[in-house]
Amino acid sequence: MKIIFKRYLGFIIILVLNIILFIIDRKNGLSSITIFGSIIFQMAKILPPIFVLLGLMDVWIPRETMEKFMGEKSGLLGILIAFFFGSFAAGPLYAAFPIAIILMKKGAKFLNILIFIGAWSTTKVPMFLFETASLGWRFSVIRLIMSIFGVITIGYAIELLISKKEKEDLYNKVRLMQ
């Protein structure tokens, strides 16, 4: 009970704040709850298949396969796979983190993880199509091209800035999860 309370403390605090907001400002307090409800609904729609795929990936993809395609020696192919994997995904960025954990557990290279996260955040195909429709293709294409370079550059930069030990610690921590 105490553990549950502690885990959900952040959520409880926000709920209390929301109630306070509701008391001070009926209109915004109410719309906050409505928006929360509608986001939950949207997420409830998209998250189940993502997590089911994640679970299947975890039990079916052998470590050797992952190492071969996305591991330390995967080179350009690994980068490309990470890019495509992230870009053809759907769902919010925070759904990418649990997948990143599985990828690390299976031995994907850290640079590829960073590229996967970067691609998921900003070069997603469905998002790009929508962006073209609303902001025009010139805007979207320039942003896409820059983002591709940006994602790779940020990936390399972070990879360079963390020590080998930090990376090892992270992978060890991930291995112990679940």
Partner: protein, 159 residues
């Protein structure tokens, strides 16, 4: 549309997996649930917080804030809003398009869109849970700075 593709994919793989190995499939589903349950508290917090932010920063308020100031000041305001809000694309892009039509600068809109997608202050606790503090903060900071580069290029080419 895309949601259905995902469901279809998950469904097909689930059936194949079940036919090949029931026990493994059960384990996969257990893992799926566990990974989800693992992030559930942060997830609920993030969504509830987004609800509040979006209520106070309604599309109207966002438009006013983003459309108001030009130049660096406008870009910085746009980047802050983009970094802290968690707006789904189907709301964000139409707002951005409307703002452009009403005379907002390309650079300001670009920095808003880019930070919205790449920088996540609200989701930082979840990211830290996955990558640790240092890497998460670095990633967000780089993405933040990078968004300005995107904005500058778009501003020069289109502006």
């Amino acid at each position: 549309m895309y949601d259905y593709v995902l469901y279809l994919l998950a469904g097909i793989f689930l059936v194949i997996s079940f036919k090949r190995d029931k026990k493994k499939t059960k384990m996969a589903l257990k893992k799926a649930w566990k990974s989800f349950e693992n992030i559930l508290p942060q997830f609920l917090t993030i969504l509830a917080f987004s609800g509040m932010v979006l209520a106070l920063l309604s599309p109207d308020v966002i438009s006013r804030l983003l459309g108001q100031k030009a130049g660096w000041q406008g870009m910085i305001i746009a980047s802050i809003i983009g970094s802290i809000t968690l707006i789904p694309a189907f709301i964000a892009f139409p707002i951005a398009a409307m703002l452009l039509k009403n005379g907002a600068g390309f650079a300001q809109i670009a920095v808003f869109v880019s930070t919205l997608m790449m920088v996540g202050i609200v989701t930082l606790p979840l990211e830290i849970k996955c990558f640790g503090k240092k890497i998460s903060i670095m990633r967000n900071m780089f993405a933040y700075l990078f968004s300005f580069m995107v904005a500058l290029v778009i501003g020069v080419v289109l502006g």
